[in-house]
């Protein structure tokens, strides 16, 4: 489905570069940290946005991720795997922590969504999210993503929206490969059914 060869080379180059950057960071080179942040901001933000479904929240979460990375960079071991995988793992752990922390708010939120009060939420007073989906289908996919359980959601995001290999996802989520595969499959099936329920017709 993807041009594996080209992607592999790029990943290898990046891996080497990232490890060197981390080393320079630990020696106190600010420019190395700057490069590391610029390289990975998009990816971290993407994960946070897809998981939370809210632009402003994703921004806050991304900042938190990099703050955590900045403080714990010394614990990264290049021998144990790519920096990108380690970063995805830090991001994922923070997303899950945040999800548990705010679950109660979320329940209240979803109750409000059902009530007529929902009109108020879309009044012009509310600041709009900066990120707008490119088309209706993407918006529906994002909505479906938000409706499946976080276990399935994170697996689908890593595989289908971040383009990771199963082996890498296994390291990020710290579960056996079989579990990764079945979560991705289950997540996709639930999302496909949600899309059908939203009136999206299969091609």
């Amino acid at each position: 489905m993807r041009p594996e060869g080209a992607k592999g080379n790029e990943a290898a180059e990046r891996l080497e570069g990232d490890a060197q950057l981390v080393e320079s960071c630990l020696k106190g080179e600010g420019s190395a940290w700057e490069e590391l942040v610029r390289r990975h901001t998009r990816r971290v933000y993407g994960m946070c946005y897809r998981f939370s479904g809210r632009g402003a929240e994703a921004e806050d979460l991304s900042q938190e991720v990099f703050l955590r990375v900045y403080r714990t960079l010394g614990s990264y071991r290049a021998a144990q795997g790519a920096f990108g995988t380690w970063l995805a793992r830090v991001t994922r752990n923070l997303l899950v922590d945040n999800y548990r922390r705010t679950r109660r708010d979320r329940v209240t939120d979803s109750l409000e969504d059902v009530m007529p009060k929902v009109e108020e939420k879309h009044s012009p007073v509310r600041a709009p999210d900066r990120y707008v989906e490119a088309n209706e289908l993407s918006a529906q996919v994002q909505k479906a993503l938000g409706q499946i359980s976080p276990d399935l959601r994170e697996a689908v995001i890593l595989r289908d929206l971040q383009g990771m290999e199963y082996g890498e996802i296994q390291k990020v989520l710290d579960v056996p490969e079989g579990t990764v595969k079945s979560r991705i499959n289950r997540g996709r099936i639930e999302m496909a059914r949600l899309l059908t329920a939203m009136g999206v017709r299969p091609e």
Partner: protein
């Protein structure tokens, strides 16, 4: 056939990603040809995967995010070293300065709104009309000049008042100007917003007060 729909579902991703053994794949195909329900699910999963593959590329982080992260992590360290350009820029980012700038912009927009339509009024084509309008224009230009100077004075006053907000200066008049509406006037068209009346009065009445003293 419908008995193993569950098993078919379990292997649907493997089938679509072509990672099944040939025999298993054949079994899947046979089932999908007979079972409309599973076939519809397969088609919808393909559509979903296509949509997500497109979404992966389109995602961009907000432009200021990397800068914010760097400020949060490296920022304090830089300022203790005394990066002058950086601290100067940071000083511009204070709320007082921003509010002051917003106020100045709003006032300039208001001044523009009141001066532009006057310039656009047509002249009568008769000699008397031209003379009258020239006379009027001259007066208008003079009046506008006076008003402009007064307006600038008001802008300056408003700005200095906003800057000193925590410690009100002794010459602060009874009318208080809150920074809230000023913030919003940048976004709305001036004169059409109800929030604007405070500003409007401040700008329009202050010059009058100045004139009556003369």
């Amino acid at each position: 056939m419908k008995a193993n729909c569950g098993q078919i579902e379990e292997r649907l991703s493997d089938y679509i990603e072509k990672s099944l053994e040939a025999a298993e794949a054949q079994e899947m195909e046979a089932h999908l040809q007979d079972c409309a329900k599973c076939a519809a699910l397969e088609a919808q999963m393909r559509r979903l995967l296509g949509a997500m593959a497109e979404m992966e590329g389109g995602m961009e982080a907000p432009p200021q995010l990397a800068a914010k992260i760097l400020e949060q992590t490296l920022g304090p360290r830089k300022s203790t070293r005394g990066g002058e350009a950086w601290t100067w820029l940071k000083s511009l980012w204070k709320p007082q300065v921003l509010v002051g700038m917003a106020g100045a912009l709003a006032t300039l927009a208001l001044v523009a709104q009141f001066t532009l339509p006057a310039r656009m009024r047509g002249n009568a084509a008769t000699p008397a009309g031209i003379l009258r309008s020239a006379n009027r224009q001259a007066h208008l230009v003079y009046a506008r000049g006076v008003k402009y100077v007064n307006d600038l004075r008001v802008v300056y006053e408003i700005q200095s008042r906003l800057r000193n907000e925590p410690e009100p200066s002794p010459e602060t008049p009874q009318r208080t100007i809150t920074p809230g509406p000023n913030d919003r006037t940048e976004e709305h068209h001036p004169g059409h917003s109800a929030n604007f009346t405070g500003m409007y009065e401040a700008v329009m009445l202050a010059p009058l007060a100045g004139r009556s003293m003369r």
